[in-house]
């Protein structure tokens, strides 16, 4: 299992090389010292959130992009999100019915969690 810091480093380097930037160029636009940037690409350090923020601006991506693994994306949420948007197009009563079902499922989950907690005590 690849370490997250290395994944982030690889993604950052890949983005830079895709844009054919030198480290210096990236840093000129981001106020990150080139030396620090070098350490980030080589996973010698764990870049802070504000550093990632600066890099995301330069590369014009979301920060989340840095954490995406190469192997087939676990985009379980995407299809769900599409469905959700469609739910909005349902009639009010249909929407309510669906929401009730969701509530049930979630209540069930919470109940199980609470039981777990009790057992753990």
């Amino acid at each position: 299992m690849i370490q997250t810091v290395e994944l982030v480093a690889k993604n950052i380097k890949r983005l830079r090389e895709f844009k054919s930037f030198s480290q210096k160029e990236v840093c000129a636009d981001s106020t990150i010292p080139q030396g620090q940037y070098s350490r980030i690409e080589n996973a010698k350090v764990e870049p802070s959130i504000s550093t990632l923020e600066k890099l995301a601006l330069v590369f014009e991506v979301d920060i989340a992009e840095f954490f995406k693994s190469d192997d087939l994306e676990q985009e379980v949420n995407l299809p769900l999100m599409q469905k959700i948007k469609m739910i909005d197009t349902l009639a009010k009563d249909e929407q309510q019915a669906l929401l009730k079902m969701i509530d049930l499922a979630l209540a069930n989950k919470r109940m199980k969690d609470n039981l777990q907690t009790l057992i753990a005590q």
Copy 2:
């Protein structure tokens, strides 16, 4: 424009409260000192990548989840969106069951739409 650190803090706190965990419980499972966790939720510090990694494990989400903005909530109705995020925390089989129900509702809607279109012609 909301700061990324604050966004991350909010997302982390929301995930914890949904699971009805105390800070201590989260920390027991993650080796993060409770004091440090408190500072993270209050955006007093920028959590490191390895800290985010530990939290992602406890909450059973991708790290990218911490960086997702609430903007999506403006596209869809708000209470629904909150439920959706909760669905993510359900077990796989429960999730599948719920998705099937959603599919059914949507298929039904499509069918009616198609009928409407036919009638209108």
